[in-house]
């Protein structure tokens, strides 16, 4: 019986490792290729993963073709600003929906939830037309304002409301009796007690903005304001199938997110599990 169980576990591990190789291989392959010489890439054995000799030339080339440091900086700023504003607005609204009484509250909440059902592509063209009318094309405003007001804001409202409902009321009641205004309660009691929820949304927001492509691709064609994903596709058009340069560039764009994922893994997972879409 015990031997059978041990065999069972050995088989399980073998399968798990095989699947893990498939899942990780594209990452390993692109990162190692980014350090290979073009000679090794084009005439060496593709299954040989060790760069020999290792070189930083591909990175130098990628950075000389297009301003990648600028793309990375733009994405870093966007992926910080957009979630910060979105989470602030969302937690204000969520506090109102969770704790304050007013006419039409539930109706407005339902109306907002409808936005989550709305596929983003329906509003792509009118948003673009609007951004053009406002003179936002090729401006940072186009990269910041419309992405804030999208389905993710509604998701954040929904998520924060669920969290606020789980905070015991006693915490606020004492402050309200002491004459604290709802704004004071929100800032001094509710928000400091919501740090894990805020962290979860910040991580999801960072990922979404870092990876966003379609919208920035339509509103920006100025290299100085371009975020990383759009910059990558411009590089692809420029160098076609020069895998050496492309792999250096994709590595530059993937690594920051992987590092963040490693550090904040549990918040990533919490995002899926508590989203209410986790199957409950």
């Amino acid at each position: 019986m015990k031997r059978k169980k041990r065999l069972h576990i050995a088989v399980l591990y073998a399968i798990l490792i095989l699947v893990a190789i498939v899942m990780i291989f594209p990452f390993v392959w692109s990162v190692t290729a980014s350090f290979k010489t073009s000679r090794q890439i084009y005439s060496g054995n593709p299954l040989d993963l060790i760069p020999n000799p290792a070189t930083l030339n591909n990175y130098r080339k990628a950075l000389s073709v297009l301003p990648f440091h600028r793309f990375l900086l733009n994405s870093l700023v966007l992926a910080t600003i957009v979630p910060v504003i979105s989470i602030t607005l969302a937690s204000m609204a969520a506090y109102s929906f969770a704790r304050l009484q007013f006419k039409g509250r539930d109706f407005i909440f339902m109306l907002l939830l409808g936005v989550m059902m709305l596929p983003g592509h329906v509003t792509l063209i009118p948003r673009y037309a609007l951004a053009r009318k406002l003179g936002w094309i090729n401006k940072y405003t186009a990269l910041i304002i419309p992405p804030i007001f999208s389905a993710s804001l509604v998701f954040n409202i929904f998520f924060m409301r669920q969290h606020f409902l789980s905070i015991p009321r006693e915490l606020e009641e004492a402050a309200l009796i002491d004459g604290c205004s709802p704004w004071g309660v929100w800032r001094n009691i509710i928000m400091p007690n919501s740090k894990p929820a805020i962290a979860t949304l910040a991580i999801i927001g960072f990922k979404t903005e870092w990876n966003s492509f379609l919208w920035p691709n339509v509103v920006i064609n100025d290299f100085l304001k371009m975020p990383i994903q759009v910059g990558l596709t411009y590089l692809q058009t420029n160098v076609q199938s020069s895998w050496d340069i492309l792999m250096a560039a994709t590595t530059l764009s993937i690594i920051p997110l992987i590092v963040i994922f490693m550090c904040f893994q549990r918040y990533f997972m919490a995002g899926i599990l508590t989203s209410g879409l986790g199957g409950r």
Binding site: I15, M23, L47, L118, I125, L130, I148, S150
Partner: protein
């Protein structure tokens, strides 16, 4: 006096409440609800952004159903639905079942399986473009190694382009749904398995008659989300195929994008966006209705 005080307090609270939600409401009102109405209007016009929009009624909608490229996109989407949704569910569920235990290194496996789903499709799509490259790519190098002659031309071939794209999407999204299933599995009470064991159930029977039925809620949501995901297939097509060869990997969203931002047919693109919206809405409604029906019968 007292009631006046009370009503004044009520007014104050209403004002405070509105001040909390107003910034979100105004922004969403303009950029989502306003856009939605605007989009419907655009879909009834002929508009190239430069000259004023001209009202043409339902002509854009009629055109879509005569447009062979659009019909081809619909057909391709059905193909991708069949290829990706069931396999995605099976992979995600299987991975979750394998990883739902306390073993050394399990955290590593969970992270590894989940990693593709947080990576940008644009960046990893370029890596897969190279993997699928018939002459320089690693996939054909492996196939050659294990003795496959007649190597597929993958993204260059009408036959293999769709399977290649499906493989890439399955690789990328399965881990996300795996996490959903993991949470579903953790909600199944242990007593049910103990009861099944007393009845002499084998491992397979436990999976078939306890685990899978109790995960039906997760499966329901995962299916809806995967279907929406397939309908919105865009970035992988953008970097890997641009709809080629011969439109065999063209998708609705890519076609909408190309019509709007490469040919400046804003009206036609908006009409197709609305058709896509209606299709998705109807599918979701049907799924919810089917689920209610199933619950009524008592499954």
């Amino acid at each position: 006096m007292r009631s006046l005080d009370g009503s004044r307090r009520q007014v104050r609270q209403t004002l405070t409440a509105w001040s909390f939600i107003l910034p979100s409401l105004i922004g969403l009102g303009i950029f989502v609800y306003g856009s939605l109405v605007y989009s419907l209007y655009i879909s009834f016009t002929s508009w190239d952004l430069l000259t004023p929009a001209k009202w043409i009624g339902f002509a854009n909608y009629a055109r879509a159903f005569r447009d062979e490229s659009f019909i081809q996109c619909l057909y391709n989407t059905v193909y991708f639905l069949v290829a990706i949704v069931p396999l995605g569910i099976v992979f995600a569920m299987a991975m979750a079942m394998a990883l739902n235990r306390q073993l050394p290194g399990i955290g590593f496996f969970r992270a590894a399986y989940y990693m593709p789903s947080i990576t940008s499709t644009i960046a990893i799509g370029m890596v897969w473009l190279w993997i699928f490259n018939p002459d320089q790519g690693v996939l054909n190098a492996i196939l050659k190694l294990i003795g496959v002659s007649n190597l597929p031309r993958w993204l260059e071939s009408r036959v293999w382009a769709k399977p290649a794209l499906s493989i890439m999407r399955l690789w990328q999204v399965s881990g996300y749904y795996m996490i959903m299933y993991l949470s579903g599995l953790q909600n199944i009470p242990n007593e049910l398995y103990e009861a099944a064991e007393i009845d002499g159930a084998t491992g397979w029977q436990k999976t078939r008659y306890v685990t899978v039925p109790l995960l039906s809620n997760t499966t329901f949501f995962a299916t809806i989300m995967l279907i929406i995901e397939v309908f919105n297939l865009f970035e992988a097509v953008y970097v890997m195929t641009e709809g080629r060869p011969g439109g065999s990997t063209n998708t609705i969203l890519y076609y909408i994008y190309a019509q709007a931002f490469q040919r400046y047919r804003m009206g036609y693109a908006s009409a197709m966006a609305w058709i896509l919206f209606v299709i998705l809405f109807v599918i979701t409604l049907i799924q919810f209705a089917a689920r209610r029906r199933k619950e009524e019968i008592g499954f």
